[in-house]
């Protein structure tokens, strides 16, 4: 794991935007713009895991999909290993797809129920001509043992597996083209706690073994703390705080981060910080508030917050916060 700032970024996301047009009103005449991802900026260094956390609906999945161009971005740049992703031609994109993969949340939805494991893994390899036809089976077997599944399950259908086993198959499929970077979108959220641990361990093992880089999307702050080198906190389509995991968890600077962290139960109850309950309305992403997007729920709100959107400023080396009071000491607890 490399936290050195000098290491060039594997993935660079700059001011990424993804807006959805949602139809409202009679006959869908009223079209509103839903800013699901609204100016996302971060770097991902080779070999690291960046945790992306935030409430459900804040745009994490959309961010992951837009980075992989499963959604066409509406603005911004994505640069992967020196290659422009947003402007890539179809042919360039095909090459990039080998490098960037995604694991989704729901293992029951992620596998075509009518395809055997071998078909599910074999189809993309055949299309990309990863291996010769007669070596395809061997390669599938390799992948299966890599994710800890018996080779014999190659000819089985998804419904014959448990959720955890399915997620292993999904991970094997994500690995089949030999990627460097994987987006794990709530990859363990739908699993039982004991299974979650197994899959997390598997992901960590794979990371060291294959030198993978992860964007680990989750709403579970404890898992993120465990797996991530750095953490990004997302609120209504934007990152409000970004920094090294220990730093964020020890000294959160953004009021929203503090509120989130105060909700995690800790082992020693005497140490439990006072829980911050957010009041105020959660704005709808179709009508974002002016100024700081968090001000409607913020307990530190001042006049400026409703007027001016704060910048995303470095408070210390490698720690960025989007809050007017990040340096004022007002937020420190």
């Amino acid at each position: 794991m490399n936290l050195d700032k000098q290491v060039p970024a594997l993935l660079r996301v700059e001011n990424l935007q993804k807006y959805f047009q949602v139809r409202k009103g009679w006959l869908g005449r009223k079209i509103q713009t839903l800013k699901a991802v609204d100016g996302l900026t971060f770097d991902l260094r080779r070999g690291e895991t960046l945790g992306l956390v935030g409430e459900s609906g804040c745009g994490k999945t959309t961010a992951g999909k837009t980075i992989l161009r499963l959604y066409e971005p509406d603005g911004g740049r994505v640069v992967f290993d020196g290659h422009d992703v947003v402007g890539a031609s179809e042919k360039q994109m095909l090459a990039l797809r080998r490098q960037m993969q995604i694991v989704f949340q729901d293992p029951y939805d992620s596998l075509n129920p009518r395809k055997t494991v071998e078909q599910a893994l074999g189809e993309p390899m055949a299309y990309h001509r990863i291996v010769e036809r007669r070596r395809a089976r061997e390669r599938v077997a390799e992948l299966l043992s890599l994710v800890g599944l018996p080779v014999a399950c190659m000819n089985r259908y998804p419904h014959e597996f448990s959720g955890g086993q399915r997620q292993r198959i999904v991970i094997a499929r994500a690995l089949c083209l030999g990627p460097q970077f994987i987006v794990c979108d709530e990859a363990v959220s739908s699993l039982d706690v004991s299974i979650q641990a197994q899959i997390i361990n598997l992901l960590q093992d794979l990371q060291t073994q294959l030198a993978l880089t992860f964007l680990f999307i989750s709403h579970d702050l404890r898992i993120v703390k465990h797996i991530s080198d750095r953490v990004a906190i997302m609120y209504l389509g934007k990152i409000v705080e970004l920094g090294r995991t220990e730093e964020i968890y020890a000294h959160p600077l953004h009021p929203y981060t503090q509120a989130l962290l105060s909700a995690i139960p800790v082992a020693d109850p005497s140490n439990q910080p006072e829980r911050i309950i957010l009041s105020g309305d959660v704005p709808t992403p179709t009508r974002l508030p002016k100024g700081c997007r968090f001000h409607t729920r913020c307990w530190l709100k001042e006049e400026i917050c409703a007027r001016v959107e704060p910048g995303f400023d470095a408070v210390s080396d490698d720690h960025y916060v989007m809050c007017h009071f990040s340096r004022s000491g007002k937020v420190t607890r």
Binding site: G25, W26, L27, G28, R29
Partner: protein, 313 residues
């Protein structure tokens, strides 16, 4: 709500316009020359060309369409190539017969179908339910024109209780009604089977709901429960089905009118299509589609009025 209705009306006219466009160009792009249909196959070439010119069929298609459209908007649907009479006038004469038949058929369907459906639901799994199920399955699929032929044979020819030809004159309401009965039954009986089936299944659903159980528990008479509480709610989905039924009934009327040799839109369109009478085909089909689209719209609106849970999105 008003805005919604307005939009639906606009949409309705757009649909009619689209149908008109499609039919207009389909008729002209697909093979089949109206000029020969007017003159017969043997006409000398110069006459053919002259007629073609007189009828405007030698102009570019878009020009023909523009001309047709501008007069269409003013209510002029052109002149029949065969009878040389204005199409609008022909439609005005035929339309009332078809509308009357369609409405009578729907009414027949409701009057026969809904009570039978209620009875079948109340006496669920009894002999009446089984019998009505068998009859229902048979009649849902029976082509109305075959029902018409049987009715014509039995009540027209054998018993002689009803006229076998025509629809009567408008100034003789009794004749009109008399001539309407068999065709309305022919179209309505298959519809009744449909209605019965839907009413039954919706009634069963409603009869199982909590408020009906409560009503029963309160000791209300079964008949009161069935008719005041349950039927009212079961009718909501039945109404939505009416819209689609009207479209099908109008389609079915085409054949029924042929069986009973009745004047009507169906006869008009069939004759126009086989005679390649373009203006008449265009006019009649637009009117048909206007009817289908209107009935769908009305049902959607009625549905919203009856059931407050429906929100127009």
């Amino acid at each position: 709500m008003t805005k919604y209705i307005l939009l639906r009306v606009v949409y309705l006219f757009l649909t009619a316009f689209a149908v008109l466009t499609i039919v207009f160009f389909a008729l002209r792009v697909l093979p089949g020359d109206p000029v020969y249909a007017v003159l017969g196959g043997e006409a000398p070439p110069e006459i053919v060309e002259q007629t073609r010119h007189e009828l405007g069929f030698d102009r570019p298609l878009y020009e023909q369409f523009a001309i047709y459209l501008s007069s269409f908007i003013q209510g002029d649907l052109g002149v029949s190539l065969q009878s040389k009479r204005p199409v609008a006038e022909m439609i005005a004469m035929m339309l009332p017969h078809t509308v009357l038949l369609a409405l009578a058929a729907i009414a027949t369907g409701l009057i026969i179908g809904v009570p039978l459906g209620v009875m079948a639901a109340v006496k669920r799994n009894g002999w009446f339910d089984s019998l009505s199920r068998i009859i229902g399955v048979s009649f849902i699929a029976t082509p109305p024109f075959f029902v018409a032929i049987i009715l014509l044979l039995v009540f027209g020819f054998w018993i002689g209780a009803f006229p076998i030809v025509g629809a009567g004159e408008w100034n003789q309401p009794w004749d009109i009604l008399h001539a309407l009965i068999l065709p309305a039954l022919a179209l309505g009986i298959p519809k009744a089977a449909h209605m019965m089936r839907f009413t039954r299944s919706y009634m069963l659903e409603v009869l199982n709901e909590d408020y009906i159980r409560t009503a029963r528990a309160k000791g209300l008479r079964e008949r009161v429960v069935v008719f005041t509480h349950a039927l009212k709610n079961a009718l909501i989905p039945v109404v939505t089905i009416l819209g689609n039924q009207l479209g099908q009934v109008i389609g079915g009327a085409v054949l029924i009118e042929t069986v009973f040799t009745r004047p009507g839109m169906g006869r008009l369109v069939v004759e126009a299509i086989s005679g390649r009478d373009f203006p008449v085909v265009q006019g009649t089909i637009v009117v048909f589609s206007f009817f289908v689209a209107t009935s769908n719209m009305l049902v959607d609106l009625a549905y919203g009025l009856i059931d407050p849970r429906v929100r127009y999105r």
